[in-house]
């Protein structure tokens, strides 16, 4: 096991824990940004350079910053302790997560010996895009339609309170 693998894993775990357990939502958003950057590093480490670049550009660069941008519009300081829950809810939540993690870890542990590492000789961008523009061109075009629909939906949803004027 390489040193870089361990370093990336530790960083990802630390930032993910900070994302969930931070009291302030802004810190959560920046921790999520760093988590996504670390996952991009893991993609690079696994040999998929294109996905690593897209992860840093789109997920970390655009999505996480969009969260921070929306937080500027919303008054989140009204309730500073936003993770306070009753004890029974906390116990149920932690139990659910631990059981899921246990089941997943058991499945991984039982099958980890059968997993081999194949050398992806053609994992370059050319092979990826050959497949994207020949075999997967209908999903690709549908994805563009989905993005356009999302743009229209965002404009409509964010503007729909013209006929229902809220509290002034």
């Amino acid at each position: 096991m390489m040193f870089v693998d361990v370093l990336l894993t530790v960083l990802t775990v630390a930032f993910a824990l900070l994302t969930v357990f931070s009291k302030k939502t802004v810190i959560s958003a920046f921790a999520l940004l760093m988590t996504l950057v670390c996952i991009g590093g893991i993609y690079y480490q696994l040999g998929s350079v294109f996905l690593s670049a897209i992860q840093v550009l789109v997920n970390a660069g655009a999505v996480a910053i969009l969260f921070v941008f929306v937080m500027m519009l919303i008054d989140l300081e009204k309730y500073p302790n936003n993770t306070e829950r009753s004890k029974i809810k906390l116990i149920i939540t932690v139990l659910t997560s631990l059981v899921s993690l246990g089941v997943l870890a058991l499945i991984i542990n039982n099958n980890i010996d059968t997993i081999t590492v194949v050398n992806l000789s053609d994992s370059s961008m050319k092979a990826l895009f050959d497949r994207l523009f020949t075999q997967y061109y209908i999903p690709f075009e549908l994805a563009t339609v989905l993005l356009l629909a999302a743009v229209v939906a965002v404009v409509v949803i964010a503007n729909n309170n013209k006929q229902h004027p809220g509290k002034e």
Partner: protein, 97 residues
């Protein structure tokens, strides 16, 4: 290499914990992003393990869909904040009322 499999399971379960545990809608969306990140990491790992290049394209589509989800979710949160003046789930009990 095998440590990444456990990492993706951990990220998914941590995101699940946050999704149930958090109170404001923005944090819930943040934790959903964490879950999607864990699943996408598992797709890349399987692509590496089997030599099946299509799994990496699935990650590409997951990214597109998660970007759409975040944009629409955040615009819904803004619209909700304008009408109800809150983003906290304890105060948003429209259906149960």
């Amino acid at each position: 290499m095998s440590i990444y499999y456990y990492l993706s399971a951990f990220l998914f379960c941590l995101g699940l914990l946050g999704t149930i545990y958090k109170k404001d809608l923005i944090s819930i969306l943040l934790c959903l992003e964490l879950m999607l990140g864990g699943v996408a990491l598992l797709f890349v790992l399987f692509s590496r393990a089997t030599g099946f290049l299509d799994a990496q394209l699935q990650v590409f589509f997951i990214m597109i869909i998660s970007a759409c989800e975040v944009a629409i979710g955040l615009s819904m949160i803004i619209s909700l904040y304008r009408k109800k003046n809150t983003v906290y789930t304890d105060e948003l009990k429209i259906i149960s009322e």
